[in-house]
Symmetry: C2
Subunit: 292 residues, 2 copies
């Protein structure tokens, strides 16, 4: 049986879940809480939260059950953007079409906003009404995906790689950590919440892995093909910063062809699920055609 | 029945637990992992880990059961020091008698080291073999204590307070968040692990609250009374940075008297426990007489 879904409705639902689970702007310390809300609310593609809801949908789970997890993973994502934008890291002024947190507030506040969003994400996840044995597995999954062999490790490799020529394998290793790990975690935590069996977990992980790569290849393509106004962040900055990208390594046509291959890998992984996976399929389509 | 204990042995045990639970130095990305180990190992008073073991000891828990929690809370503490020392925050060059992480490595690495230590702390806590319903409560307690109304919030208030005259109440509110919250969490997570009842939780929380205040008052006193070589960090920096302290507000004698009052509050709280609480008492003594 096919059930209705809307990616836009899930993204809006994630925004509401964030609004509800973030500290209130009027609670002390107010400036920190206002900056946390500035960083986490008002924009963003909500890809990770949408993946949580979509995976739940495929497994027959109601979105209400997943709100805390959706908010938690978007808070982790928002923290990573705030810290990546810092002067000592990518030194970026623009994010989602607005000044970055350290520009809108100040650098010390931006460091604390990232720290607090990351920490509160675990507090929010713990508030989820899921069975505790699954919740422990979910929190551990989130932490490993964001930690030193996951997202933090990917950013460390990224920083060390500026100005270097990476092999395709090294570039993929970096992206698997930097953006791929949290995208895989989004699917996996919803799969754990939805009691997926071993074969389903494996198929979903293959799906998320291909999706994460597709997302990054498209990001590299957009950096070349688009402009800052459409992107909501500085366009052309990879090339300006001499960063290794799929376009730099494979050329425009090579990168586009690799993106199509990920689309095929996504289809194959979803076929193995033997469920109505149209929601996850739609996210795969969207990732490949998005304009920002 | 009185049982033997050694604060020094617990501190050494925490060091071993950290060594075991931190990512290995030879695992990729190596520079990040080496910097994480530099930040977390080799020194430190291990007050928070010792509180975990001592609380367990008072409640009849073996230390083996608490190693992951002891490592996790020291990782959270280490992360907070790395970020507090950053140029945009306290801009400190010396910590535990060695160059701070951003001096020994670089600023981007120091930001990532803090992020990764914080994140991995939750992964480590989840590895604990405690019953999952207690583990979820413990992880939530750690996250709330470290988050925006706890440690991060305290640091935000601290930064905003530089150069300002604070009331005693505002100073205490700041310290209750900045250092007190994690000290209370150390006692509380071990109390949850040890299945303390409501009255015991309340007595232990009052103990930890007084201990946290005593720790901070002593810190302010040491900043005035000691030298950098003994402290292992820059002495006299509170006054130089025009930071509000107990000494600035109450004078030397006033601060010493307030420290004695916390000692009495500690004794009273421990009496309510109706257990052999000599281990927690010894930590209270140590906090008041320490030289660094």
């Amino acid at each position: 049986m096919k059930t209705e879904f809307s990616l836009a409705a899930w993204a809006a639902r994630a925004e509401q879940a964030l609004d509800q689970h973030l500290p209130k702007a009027e609670a002390e310390p107010r400036r920190l809480h206002q900056a946390m809300r500035y960083a986490a609310l008002g924009g963003g593609k909500r890809l990770r939260a949408t993946l949580v809801y979509a995976t739940g949908h495929v497994l027959g789970d109601a979105p209400e059950r997943l709100d805390a997890l959706a908010a938690a993973i978007e808070m982790i994502h928002a923290y990573s953007l705030v810290h990546d934008d810092l002067p000592a890291m990518d030194n970026d002024d623009l994010r989602r079409g607005r000044p970055t947190v350290h520009r809108a507030f100040d650098e010390a506040t931006a460091i604390l906003v990232g720290d607090a969003l990351l920490t509160e994400a675990f507090a929010v996840a713990c508030r989820s009404a899921l069975p505790t044995e699954r919740l422990v597995e979910i929190v551990g999954t989130l932490a490993r995906a964001s930690g030193s062999i996951g997202m933090c490790g990917g950013q460390a490799i990224d920083i060390a790689a500026v100005g270097q020529t990476l092999s395709l394998m090294a570039l993929e290793d970096m992206h698997r950590r930097k953006t791929g790990a949290l995208i895989r975690a989004a699917v996996r935590i919803a799969a754990i919440a939805g009691n997926a069996d071993g074969a389903e977990l494996a198929a979903l992980d293959d799906y998320a892995n291909a999706l994460g790569l597709a997302f990054q290849i498209k990001d590299d393509l957009l950096d070349v093909e688009s402009d800052s106004a459409t992107l909501g962040k500085t366009a052309g900055k990879d090339d300006a910063a001499n960063k290794p990208t799929y376009v730099a390594l494979l050329g425009l046509e090579g990168a586009r062809s690799k993106l199509r291959l990920q689309g095929e890998a996504i289809d194959q992984a979803l076929q193995r699920l033997q469920r109505d996976s149209s929601a996850l399929h739609a996210i795969g389509q969207w990732v490949a055609v998005r304009q920002h």
